[in-house]
């Protein structure tokens, strides 16, 4: 039953993403402002991949902190498994957001990496959570869940700063090339907002399924190891 529900979630997410892709490819027009600035209005469509990946990874890092708090209050390993799974999948989403961002950077600004403030803060987020994965693997089993929970809580504070505070400081915005300003002031037409919503929903559902599967695996592997001792 649980397995069937998971397969259904994957199928729904996959369908939503395919529909979003088809609409983006065949229906959404090239963005006029991107055409003027970068010579190719179609590269604006990278937002349909890049933005959902970045937003979902941020939300997930905060949710993982919530699982960390739940673990510290109850000491139930289910919360630890959910927290670790959420951070692992969010880390993958953040890596893909960085890769698609670098691809946009190559097309729009001529270089894969410019140390633009947005690229730098995302790089710091990746370092923070790569360290989480390494620390979790290195700590002994008795302390693993507690250390992971505390790290997830502290990490969410760093994420909040790096995603939503630092990039929006006036001094930083003046030097950043990131086109979030074009999107914020409505520089993309309504079709972009509709497809972006569809794509975010599809990637969000896929995220939930990946976390469910990863957390179930974590608990099952732990049970197997306990049984083999």
């Amino acid at each position: 039953m649980r397995r069937q529900r998971g397969q259904m979630l994957t199928a729904i997410a996959g369908t939503l993403l395919l529909v979003a892709f088809a609409l983006a490819f065949f229906w959404v027009p090239p963005a006029a402002e991107f055409q003027r600035l970068y010579g190719n209005g179609h590269i604006a469509k990278i937002v349909f991949v890049h933005v959902p990946l970045a937003i979902i990874s941020f939300v997930a890092f905060v949710v993982a902190a919530g699982f960390g708090v739940a673990y510290l209050r109850t000491r139930r390993l289910r919360w630890d498994a959910l927290g670790a799974a959420t951070i692992e999948v969010a880390w993958l989403y953040a890596v893909l957001a960085t890769v698609t961002g670098a691809w946009f950077s190559r097309l729009a600004w001529g270089a894969w990496w410019n140390w633009d403030p947005r690229q730098t803060t995302m790089f710091m987020v990746l370092l923070t959570y790569t360290a989480y994965l390494l620390v979790r693997g290195a700590v002994d089993e008795e302390r693993r869940a507690s250390v992971s929970a505390v790290y997830a809580i502290l990490g969410s504070g760093a994420s909040l700063m790096l995603y939503w505070v630092v990039p929006y400081l006036p001094a930083i915005q003046q030097v950043s090339l990131h086109p979030s300003g074009i999107i914020a002031r409505g520089g993309l037409d309504a079709s972009y907002r509709a497809v972006l919503a569809l794509s975010t929903l599809g990637m969000g559902l896929l995220f939930v399924q990946l976390v469910r599967l990863r957390a179930t695996l974590e608990l099952a592997e732990r049970r197997l190891m306990a049984a083999s001792r």
């Binding site: 994957t10 990278i46 990946l53 099952a220």
Partner: protein, 40 residues
């Protein structure tokens, strides 16, 4: 439509990476199922 190729590639890379990760989790799960969990 060569102008749309960058978007297509970004989408393809993301899709392949997410599907590869899902496939890896599914195959680990199948391995565990074969080992017969004691309380499942």
């Amino acid at each position: 439509m060569p102008e749309a190729l960058p978007f297509f590639l970004a989408w393809l890379i993301t899709w392949l990476a997410l599907m590869a990760y899902l496939w890896r989790l599914e195959s680990r799960w199948r391995t565990i199922e074969r080992e017969e969990l004691p309380d499942d």
